[in-house]
Amino acid sequence: DTAVSQTPKYLVTQMGNDKSIKCEQNLGHDTMYWYKQDSKKFLKIMFSYNNKELIINETVPNRFSPKSPDKAHLNLHINSLELGDSAVYFCASSQRTSGGARNEQFFGPGTRLTVL
C-alpha cells in the first residue's frame, strides 16, 4: 500500500562510483520530484517531471541525471560520486488539478546516501 516508494533505503559507496536511486508512486499522480536533504535537514528541490517531461531543473551538478520512464517512475542517476553528495534524497509526487495547481506533495521514505 506504499504510496511513494524508494529503493534502496540506504546506499553506501566509494567516491567516484556511479549509483542510481529508484522511485515509484502508485497514487496515479502526474508530477514527480527529487529533493535533497542535507545534514542540517535543509530540503531543496532538485528536479521535477510532469508526464515524463522535465519541468524543474535546479542548479544541480550535471553528474545528477533524472530519468522518468513513465509517469509512475522517476529515477536518479549520479555519476562520479563525491563526498558532498552524502545526503538523504527524497522522491515526492503530486497531481496537477484542473486549476493547474500541484500543491499537495507526497514524499517517499528517503534514500540515505553515504559517500566514503
Binding site: T31, K41, F42, I45, I55, I56, A101, R102, G108, G110
Partner: protein, 113 residues
C-alpha cells in the same frame, strides 16, 4: 526573494504547552503555504496548509495563522504531546506553476512528558 525563513531552529516545551513556529517570506507571488512534519528516518508529511485569502486555518490541534501584509505565517500546536516531537518545515509555492516548494530551514520540536 525565493527564500522562506523559519524560526526557531529548535524548541522544547512541556506536554500541554503551545509551541509556535514562525516563517517569513519575501516573494508576494507565493500563494500556497504548507507545513510538513517529519519524524526521524521518515519522509516529510503534509500537516496543514493555507492560502493567503484566509488569516487562520485550524485542523485538530494544529493552527496556521497567516499575516499577508507582514508576509509571515506561523504554526501553533495546541495541547502538545510527546508524539508531536518531530521536525517541522514551513514551505511556500506558487500555485499553477511547477509545484516547486521552497522550504524553511526546519524546526526540531521536543515535547517533554
Amino acid at each position: 526573494q525565493q527564500q522562506v525563513k523559519q524560526s526557531p531552529q529548535s524548541l522544547i516545551v512541556q506536554k500541554g504547552g503551545i509551541p509556535i513556529i514562525n516563517c517569513a517570506y519575501e516573494n508576494t507571488a507565493f500563494d500556497y503555504f504548507p507545513w510538513y512534519q517529519q519524524f526521524p528516518g521518515k519522509g516529510p508529511a503534509l500537516l496543514i496548509a493555507i492560502r493567503p485569502d484566509v488569516s487562520e486555518k485550524k485542523e485538530g490541534r494544529f493552527t496556521i495563522s497567516f499575516n499577508k501584509s507582514a508576509k509571515q505565517f506561523s504554526l501553533h500546536i495546541m495541547d502538545s504531546q510527546p508524539g508531536d516531537s518531530a521536525t517541522y518545515f514551513c514551505a511556500a509555492s506558487i500555485s499553477g506553476n511547477t509545484g516547486k516548494l521552497i522550504f524553511g530551514q526546519g524546526t526540531t520540536l521536543q515535547v517533554k512528558p
